[in-house]
């Protein structure tokens, strides 16, 4: 005998958990299916948690969620081979509650989130892979088929929160195969060290954390960035570049990470730590233009599966949670109004997204991927030039400052030509506008 639910959520990452939680809280009969051994066992993130998206669902999350440190300082480093130039922003204001950003360890956080989903009343079944979507004679999605005996399960609506690869959506022809230029491959390590050492090294207190964004020659000219986050007693360090770039350069991600860790400005930060975890994951970074169709008859797509990642600001899990929540709210509205889960009715989800920061932000940076793809000087020439300029100005050698300025300017002109410089400035301005 097959079971029937109001909704089936496929996947137990941030978007799936947000959807399942919101649906269950509203009293719907929800089944969440996760292929991993437990919720979160397939997930990888830096990880920074932006409080807002979670707070809208679970206002008191701070009381029980496993949080590492709240961020009080943001560093942005542009690296050359031997140096970096950057900005640090630190504010006592970030020490005022409620805090806005936290470092988290996803394995723990996801377990907590899944517990909340279960408390809310959703039935969570792990180690079960959805192999295909069930359709009726009008091609509407009416449920799922899983990889177990007796695995035909029906539902009014299926929410696909099955992650960046979204094998299910692809199999159902909801979106085409991912293009290597639209996904980044990121690798990450966690290095453990005593809490006191870490706090002293980063000049932070018991609960305070630091974020370092890394940019420049560390990616060997590939489009991508690195990061370093402080957890309670560990450091998460990672780097991600577009898959197409790894392919063209024939570089391996771990070699790139090794190289980054050996950088003279980064190495001392990790000294004495013990590497305990190595993970890798794809990140959908195609931006606004790569968003697939996200609603249909009986189905919705949320999270990474819908390309909802803001690569410029390194935001993803908050977009995931927000899309999950908005999809769920759409379903709840239809259910309450007694409307069918047709594509036309569920289109309300798209409207909600358009009105939210999710689509507004992605739209704002829609040209960014193309610009960076075709203008590699941003990852190589400029980092080198600004570092050299700083070096030149700080190196006291009897040459007057005016001459140094002239030399710096001509070095820029030589590398990029006046026309190129102005063009780059214009492109960046357009992209960020």
């Amino acid at each position: 005998m097959s079971e029937k639910f109001d909704a089936i959520v496929v996947g137990a990452g941030p978007s799936g958990n947000a959807a399942a939680y919101t649906l269950a809280k509203a009293g719907l009969n929800v089944l969440q299916l996760e292929r991993g051994e437990s919720a979160g066992s397939k997930n990888v993130q830096g990880a920074i948690l932006y409080a807002d998206a979670l707070e809208r669902m679970i206002p008191d999350f701070r009381d029980s969620a496993p949080l590492e440190r709240h961020i009080i300082e943001q560093r942005m480093w542009v690296l050359d081979d031997e140096s970096f130039i950057g900005t640090h922003y630190r504010s006592e204001d970030f020490n005022k509650e409620p805090f806005n950003r936290y470092t988290i360890i996803r394995a723990q956080f996801d377990k907590w989130f899944s517990g909340k989903v279960q408390e809310a009343g959703a039935l969570v079944v792990c180690e079960t892979t959805v192999t295909s979507l069930l359709r009726d004679d009008k091609n509407r999605v009416v449920g799922v088929q899983v990889d177990r005996e007796g695995g035909t399960i029906y539902a009014d609506v299926v929410i696909l929160a099955d992650g960046v690869n979204s094998l299910l959506a692809r199999k159902a022809d909801f979106h085409p195969e991912l293009e290597p230029k639209n996904v980044a491959l990121a690798v990450k390590e966690i290095h453990f060290m005593p809490q006191e050492v870490l706090q002293e090294r980063f000049n932070i207190g018991e609960e305070e954390g630091v974020v370092i964004e890394l940019f420049g020659k560390i990616t060997n000219g590939m489009m991508g960035t690195g990061f370093l986050y402080t957890n309670k007693e560990s450091i998460a360090i990672g780097v991600g570049c577009m898959l197409s770039d790894f392919k063209d350069q024939k570089t391996t991600p771990y070699a790139l990470l090794e190289q980054m860790k050996a950088h003279p400005s980064i190495k001392p930060l990790l000294a004495g730590g013990e590497m305990k975890e190595y993970t890798a994951h794809l990140i959908p970074e195609g931006g606004y233009k790569a968003i697939p169709k996200i609603v249909g008859d009986g189905w919705l797509i949320v999270g990474d599966s819908g390309m909802f990642v803001n690569a410029v600001h390194r935001e993803g899990s908050n977009l995931a949670m927000t899309t999950g929540r908005l999809a769920a709210e759409t379903v709840i509205e239809m259910k309450e109004a007694g409307k069918d889960m047709t594509a036309a009715n569920l289109a309300e989800y798209r409207k909600k997204l358009d009105d939210s920061f999710v689509i507004k932000d992605l739209k704002k940076y829609q040209d960014m991927p193309d610009i960076f793809h075709s203008n590699r000087q941003f990852f190589t020439t400029y980092p080198e030039l600004v570092n050299r300029s700083a070096h030149s100005m700080l190196h006291v050698d009897g040459v007057d400052k005016k001459t140094k300025e002239r030399e710096i300017f001509s070095s820029f002109k030589q590398k990029r030509s006046l026309f190129g410089l102005m063009g780059d400035a214009y492109k960046l301005w357009r992209a960020f506008r």
Binding site: M1, A107, T128, V146, R148, E149, G150, I153
Partner: protein, 282 residues
């Protein structure tokens, strides 16, 4: 036919490491699994149930998280699950554990007679193989250890025939019921849970018993947990890894006989005891 399967949630020993400085076992972040040997016991019990009908109850003692192991056992097809958990059980060695499990099984029997108790041959974290026999003794059940296969069960006659691995062969043993059987690894493979069973496991209310519910009186409190455990772990240490470098042996002539002679001569110098032994036998 009612089979009680005792299982234990253990840290996945494949992922445990010893701290390089303090020599203590680092359990942090190590996933908990059902003791692999217990899965063979559970599968054997489920096969008997498939064949003869009846009920399979899984029982474990452990912290509240051990419920995860029971739920997994339910998904494979166990009918009921009982977790005995209490601060009073903490720090138990094999003696105290078998006392507590035996008490819980007596409680289970009050609702439904127990024909057999199955356990894995040992756990991968303790490696003692003592708890099964301890439970059998306390329940006054026939004990059958190292059983590779249950050949036949005749519940009406109260009889069971099993294959038991023994030195140099296999024993075919007939025993009366009730009995406790510790099952060997490798003779069956845990089934892939069906979707209806996954649903059932997710919804099933695991019975959680504290000390009293498990039938242990105030007066017996000294027989469980740390108080009931005469075993004292005086020291935990990691074995020193062998770091002797390999030695290159060069033989100029390159003739096989010369190579063999040189290698043997080297070995005999290095291990004189071996040389003596060989000389004695020659």
């Amino acid at each position: 036919m009612h089979i009680v399967v005792c299982i234990k949630q253990v840290p996945d020993s494949a992922q445990i490491r010893v701290h390089p400085v303090t020599n203590t076992i680092m359990r942090q972040g190590v996933p908990a699994i059902i003791n692999p040997y217990d899965l063979f016991a559970l599968e054997e019990a489920l096969r008997l149930k498939d064949k003869h009908g009846g009920t399979v109850t899984v029982l474990t003692m452990g912290p509240p998280q051990a419920e995860g192991a029971l739920r997994k056992a339910l998904s494979y097809g166990a009918d009921d699950a009982i977790l005995i958990t209490d601060r009073a059980f903490a720090g138990a060695d094999t003696l105290a554990t078998s006392f507590a499990l035996a008490a819980a099984i007596r409680q289970i029997r009050k609702n439904m007679p127990v024909d057999m108790v199955f356990t894995g041959k040992q756990t991968i974290d303790g490696d003692t193989a003592q708890v099964g026999p301890g439970v059998a003794k306390r329940l006054d059940f026939q004990l059958l250890t190292y059983v590779s296969k249950v050949s036949s069960v005749l519940p009406e006659q109260g009889q069971i025939v099993v294959e038991r691995r023994a030195e140099g062969g296999v024993q075919l043993l007939k025993s009366k019921l009730p009995c406790l059987i510790t099952i060997l690894e490798g003779n069956n493979e845990m089934r892939f849970a069906t979707m209806p069973n996954m649903f059932r496991a997710a919804r099933h209310a695991v019975k959680v018993w504290d000390r009293e519910a498990a039938g242990i009186t105030d007066e017996d409190i000294v027989k469980i947990g740390l108080k009931g455990s005469p075993t004292v772990v005086s020291k935990v240490f990691a074995p020193t890894p062998h770091t002797e470098p390999a030695e290159m042996i060069e033989v100029e002539s390159g003739h096989p006989k010369d190579i063999a002679d040189t290698v043997l001569a080297k070995m005999f110098t290095r291990f004189p005891a071996v040389a003596k032994e060989i000389a004695k036998r020659a």
